[in-house]
Symmetry: C2
Subunit: 451 residues, 2 copies
């Protein structure tokens, strides 16, 4: 059943009227991801009833699992402790770890929920928390369908049929007596193999795997690079600990990209539309103060040329044109190179060639736009000196901007910094200052030469 405006208003009415029978029948027909989006239109009381309804048809877990971590963090705080307790009864250890891990560890809820878990599950949850945040160990599912390598294909299929799994099966992993991963078989291979072949003989032996402490975004890149639908996580003895699946990877890629786009604007990843204002202010204020200092620094450069500007106020009026254009040239080179690093475009070109190309492009743009700018100022104010200065300084600036813009991310990457973070500020402040120097410097020389 599709979620339409009329369905949602019916659901709202049934929630308030506590018409349980028809409500539960509708809710059981809707896709979990669509149920998740209902949370947006419900008020607190309706949310409470909605969660109760989902719990009673046993669907709260699958609905919450479709919500990305950033959003779920806010939502889970507003779910009541006894509702969360009911939720946890139906979860595997890694699902429980996923939900509890979103709560602040110092909150009483966190401790209370952890203590309601059976001893065995609690141990597994704590094991999961022992991996660093944002690592493969934190996002892997530990319920993996494995088959002993010595079975025949026929026996393997019977095993599969016997153990009706709750989780989807992506690949079938073959293990030996020690639980070590020795190969992987696709379901199709298993189903199509001659019944009496051993699994060991059909399994692919060179399995690409990750360690539980590997960062989740590196795991995501691997999955995307190889077009896998799941990747096994093994410990240092090759023992299979769990798998990371492609649907989690899609979420990670989207989060990763948010982080990159945000870094350009000096924002933290967890600063979203639904973040409380106070948190956003705290997040953004340091960045704004850095900005203030950099802008003041650029102003202090301008201050050196006060006399020149006073003599020809048109220079003060037009200097932002040169600064704006060269800032943009730098940002364009920066974006192309940063994105090239992120999407592995550099597999197809060397770094020197990329820098050279950006500089050719930058200088050509500087030439044409400089000509345009000079013509525009001449037509508007009829001042030849300012026109010539604009042209020369735009040409000079485009060399600096494109060279600097393309080199900064490569250097940051080399130094093991994230090339997306901070490059923008660094590069635009540098081009601002250089453009003020060159534009007003050349103008000062020009004025002297005229006198």
């Amino acid at each position: 059943m599709k979620l339409t405006p009329s369905t949602t208003s019916i659901i709202k009415r049934l929630l308030i009227g506590r018409n349980n029978r028809p409500l539960l029948s509708i809710l059981s027909k809707i896709e979990p991801a669509d149920l998740a989006s209902l949370f947006k239109i419900l008020n607190d009381r309706e949310k409470h009833l909605f969660i109760d309804a989902l719990l009673s048809i046993g669907r709260l877990k699958e609905v919450l699992l479709t919500i990305p971590d950033g959003q779920l963090k806010e939502l889970i705080k507003s779910i009541e402790t006894n509702q969360l307790k009911k939720l946890l009864q139906d979860t595997s250890a890694d699902e429980a770890a996923h939900f509890i891990g979103l709560l602040p560890p110092e909150s009483p809820k966190y401790k209370e929920l952890l203590n309601t878990l059976p001893e065995n599950k609690k141990r597994k949850v704590l094991q999961c928390f022992s991996y660093p945040e944002g690592s493969a160990g934190r996002i892997m599912q530990t319920h993996v369908f494995t088959l002993p390598a010595h079975l025949s294909a026929q026996e393997g299929l019977e095993e599969l049929r016997k153990k009706a799994q709750k989780e989807s099966i992506y690949y079938i992993y073959c293990t030996n007596n020690q639980g070590q991963l020795i190969g992987v078989i696709s379901l199709r291979q298993l189903a199509t193999a001659p019944p009496d072949t051993t699994l060991e003989s059909i399994a692919k032996k060179e399995v690409i795997s990750v360690s539980p402490t590997d960062p989740a975004d590196e795991v995501a890149s691997l999955v995307a690079h190889y077009d896998f639908i799941a990747l096994p996580v093994v410990d240092e003895n090759k023992k299979l600990l769990g798998i990371v699946t492609v649907d989690d990877v899609v979420d990670i890629i989207q989060e990763q990209v948010t982080a990159n786009i945000y870094a350009q604007a000096g924002l933290q990843e967890d600063d979203r539309v639904y973040t409380p204002p106070l948190k956003s202010i705290k997040n953004r204020l340091p960045w704004m103060f850095l900005n203030l200092l950099l802008a003041a620094l650029a102003s202090s450069v301008l201050s050196l040329f006060e006399d020149t500007m006073q003599e020809l106020i048109l220079l003060a009026v037009t200097k932002n044109i040169v600064a704006g254009i060269s800032g943009n040239t730098a940002i364009q080179s920066l974006t192309v190179v940063t994105r090239g690093l992120a999407t592995e475009d550099f597999n197809f070109i060397t770094k020197t060639k990329a820098i050279l190309k950006e500089m050719i492009v930058g200088i050509s743009l500087g030439f044409f736009v400089g000509l345009g700018g000079a013509a525009l100022i001449y037509l508007w104010k009829g001042n030849t000196l300012v026109s010539v200065v604009i042209f020369i300084s735009m040409l000079l600036n485009s060399i600096v901007a494109s060279g600097f813009g393309s080199m900064v991310p490569l250097v940051l990457k080399k130094l093991n910094f994230d090339p997306a973070t901070g490059s923008g500020v660094l590069v635009t402040t540098a081009t601002d200052i250089f453009s003020f120097f060159s534009f007003l410097g050349i103008a000062t020389l020009g004025l002297k030469w005229i006198h």
Copy 2:
């Protein structure tokens, strides 16, 4: 086998030495995605030999299929026609369409390759080209494993075993006599169902599907939203035409994201590190000229205040501080709201609430940074008037910047424009102009009041 620097140099040497036996044995052990990345380090002659080697072990197709379209477009132009002909012999109709579709339709290669295809395959390729570029029809695989709905689970498994498929199987689609899609079964369900149940009774009937003309990026969002690993494509009569798989979706999401990041910097999606300079210049020049005009427009506003700036040159020196800070405030609100739209954060908050929140944040930032700016100028130049003007105008600007920054993407979305494209320029030009007006306007009033 992993691709290490030493492996790659061995491969290079074997390529030039034409040592075929060891070369082919190494190449057959490396993952296709890793082979694809070898293209970066090979010169034209080596590339030619490498392609021949991949053709002779029948792996060129799978290697090329791991390369995203944008990169493959450049590469495929450099592959020789007779190599491409060999490649096409081994492809399905939709793979052939994928490769040929990357060539410019006016090129002689395009026509020649199309004409070497058997009549039946050529018809299918032309059918694929009949869907608009960037649609689901262009990226779907048409080889789908289907089972007639009336079979029993046992018969279904036997069918599966008989037809050893070349393609991976994601889900099993059930069709009726007319080829209409009537349900979907997972491989696990098929393998674990009681042998004599009919497929119809175990299939999930409400299948979410797309049409071949639906844009690929909408299909990608659906797959990501529902955590599917494949999505069926059906025509208006529910006839199953093909499937779009999650590995293609990961590529689409990455391309989509590149497009968004690029739009912020006024770049076209196909402007990458490996794009020839001339193409990049053509792409970026119109945007730079637009930028020149907008900067000139801002300058013409400044020009209105020439007298004020001449009287107090410090105003000309410091005006960029106010413009810079309010530009940043606007970009931050813009980024948070645009990203919120893209990642469905708005499922968890209303638009009015989001705008209100951004304005509260913006005003608070303006207050604190304004105080900081005023203090800085007072300490540096000791000018009370300029300090007061900075504080007042930063406060005013932060209201305009955060309000405007958060509303523009929402309005663009409402008008069915892409909120990521163009918002940046629009918003920063507006804040530039408003900041010049308010800063110099208030200063002019202040100077008058002093006299």
